[in-house]
């Protein structure tokens, strides 16, 4: 199938979606139509587009994926898939989505503080779309070419989390997206988190699946003054799946936001994280760990937009690349003219375990203010021969020594996970994945 044919297919799918969802309010229909027009105009990116120079998405662009918006794919996801991703010992509300659709029977909500809403997007769209009208898509500043508009056009389910002012949700909210089907299909999960003033929550997103499929996820955070959000994204998609995600974070004065992305899966994985620091005194942390083996490609693009003074951002991404794995990291930081006293730090560290693995890493700082502190650094290295020798000289075998050192490199990120059962689980998952070539 050519790209043009695939685009036509999306057009006919969009027509069908519009026909099926005639009861949607006008604002939403307009939002979808305008997003789809944008998608038609921009098309899927190619390697001629700067933001996708090292990341060919032809495997997505010229394929016919079965849609899931009509609810026709109701195959149950296997219990063992679910068992794999649920976190032992974690006291959390679990909101589970099977092939893009909310599954009430597989979900379990714990008692939530008064006024806190945790709903499926489908339910909100059907019953009270006005709840999200002021927020949905309104705060997105940097879209991912082709993919973010495609999600906006086709998103029919996902999660809506609304925290009223001063609400503190002590137990994490775990959003689980599972994919499993016979024929290649596409889902466009949409997560919208609106955090009121001084509210606080921990949100975990897990993506996992079996077989061949395409996940095109969009997550939005709109965090009001003084709110505190800890976010974790665990990407354990099938190795033959394509996972594209864009996250859009809008932070108001004195908000604290941290996100940790643990990227273990996907044959092709592209992860965009965009944060706009639109108030003073914001603290934003974006960390991540990505494992790339086989012929997989994992691309992370982050943008931190310092719009106001006295904000801090910290960013640490670490990649482990083996075999013919390809990694891409691009970290943009904007410091606007008004954003004096910005303190921004960005680091990308990469461990190359094979001669055939490649990494393209690029910091991109655009600074328009004159009284700021911005640092960036990228290091690319192999396992240290000195460290290997030290371990072996104490009787530890070569393979075990390698595993210990790779694990130590990764644990730097995993140890920053504040949710202990999740951290323990990911430690175990990493131990089973490392060293990659085993």
């Amino acid at each position: 199938m050519t790209v043009a044919e695939a685009q036509d297919l999306y057009s006919s799918q969009f027509d069908r979606l519009q026909a099926l969802r005639q009861t949607e309010p006008a604002w939403l229909r307009e939002l979808r139509v305008s997003a789809f027009d944008q998608f038609r105009r921009e098309g899927f990116p190619t390697i001629r587009d700067e933001e996708f120079r090292f990341t060919p998405v032809a495997g997505i662009a010229n394929r016919a994926f079965e849609p899931t918006f009509d609810g026709a794919r109701s195959e149950p996801v296997a219990a063992d898939l679910r068992a794999q991703v649920l976190v032992p010992g974690l006291q959390a509300s679990e909101v589970l989505f099977a092939n893009g659709r909310y599954s009430p029977e597989l979900s379990s909500l714990r008692t939530l503080p008064k006024g806190v809403r945790v709903e499926s997007l489908a339910h909100v769209l059907a019953t009270e779309p006005e709840l999200i009208e002021p927020y949905l898509h309104r705060f997105i500043k940097f879209e991912m070419q082709g993919f973010t508009p495609l999600n906006t056009a086709f998103a029919v389910d996902g999660a809506v989390i609304i925290l009223p002012d001063n609400a503190v949700v002590a137990e994490p909210l775990h959003l689980v997206f599972l994919s499993q089907g016979a024929a290649p299909f596409a889902t466009h999960p949409r997560v919208l988190v609106v955090a009121g003033r001084q509210s606080q929550a921990t949100i975990v997103e897990t993506y996992a699946g079996v077989g061949e499929y395409f996940t095109n996820a969009v997550t939005e955070f709109i965090a009001a003054e003084g709110s505190h959000i800890d976010h974790y994204r665990v990407q354990r998609e099938s190795l033959s799946a394509s996972h594209i995600s864009s996250m859009h974070v809008h932070l108001d004065r004195a908000a604290t936001f941290s996100s940790h992305a643990i990227i273990l899966g996907g044959g092709l994985a592209r992860n965009d994280v965009n944060a706009v620091l639109d108030g003073e005194g914001i603290n934003c942390t974006l960390n991540g760990l990505y494992l790339v083996d086989g012929k997989r490609l994992v691309d992370t693009h982050t943008t931190i937009d310092h719009a106001k003074p006295h904000c801090e951002s910290h960013e640490l991404y670490k990649g482990i690349l083996d075999q013919q794995g390809r990694g891409v990291f691009n970290g943009k930081i904007f410091v606007r003219q008004d954003a004096q006293k910005t303190d921004a730090k960005q680091t990308n560290k990469v461990l190359l375990l094979s001669d055939e693995a490649t990494i393209n890493t690029k910091p991109q700082l655009e600074i328009f203010a004159d009284d700021v502190k911005c640092t960036h650094g990228a290091t690319i290295g192999q396992l240290s021969a000195e460290q290997m020798f030290y371990l072996r000289a104490r009787g530890i075998g070569k393979a075990e020594a390698q595993a210990i050192l790779i694990h130590a490199f990764a644990s730097d990120i995993v140890e920053r996970i504040q949710v202990e059962p999740l951290r323990d689980q990911l430690e175990q998952v990493l131990l089973s994945r490392l060293p990659l070539e085993a």
Partner: protein, 255 residues
Amino acid sequence: MLEIKNLHARVEDKPILRGVDLTVNAGEVHAIMGPNGSGKSTLAGVLAGRDSYEVTQGEIRYNGADLLELAPEERAREGLFLAFQYPVEIPGVNNGYFLKAALNAVRKERGEPELDAMEFMKLVKEKLKLLGMDPAFLNRSVNQGFSGGEKKRNEIFQMAVLQPKLAVLDETDSGLDIDALRIVAEGVNALRHPERAIVVVTHYQRLLNYIVPDFVHVLSDGRIVKSGGKELALELEDKGYGWIDQAAEPAGAKA
């Protein structure tokens, strides 16, 4: 226990060891002294299996086996221990975890059962005491952020836990103040045993006041040019290495 015959080794294209002969028996403590660049650390590194050194001639027998055929971890499991001159920092690897992995690898080789966490802690606490170390140190990353003295003490602590048959101490005294030197020396002396041999590589005689050797060898320009008893160390301290270099000149000309 250890028999080195006509050992030649080089780093890249530069010959460093040029015919070392040395025999070490169980129960003995040997000191190898020599000026900078004489090949002391190369000898220690070759014994432990550091792969940046290439052995071009000669052989090393260790308890009857061909040592050079063994990988570094196999040597360690056979009871050879190198106390590093520059212990390596390994961020993210917990000291206790590292030592337990090492000890169990060695025990497995000896046909002993692996120690569980409780047994390990009991053993380790006793050895920590010997070196005057805080148990909290087990939770730190290997050598990361350690002072020079702490790193050296950590080496001797590891040795005390692993109970090697042949310990090679590579300039363990360098960078230690006198108190740390005493503690380290006591740790080493506690390991002296009729079935264990210790090779102390050092630039200075000072350490040998505390670890009294049975034999002293002087390494110069890649060869052992003089061997004697503990009094040789004092003589070196007195006269300096220049004296040996001059004495070694004719031997070099002969070869």
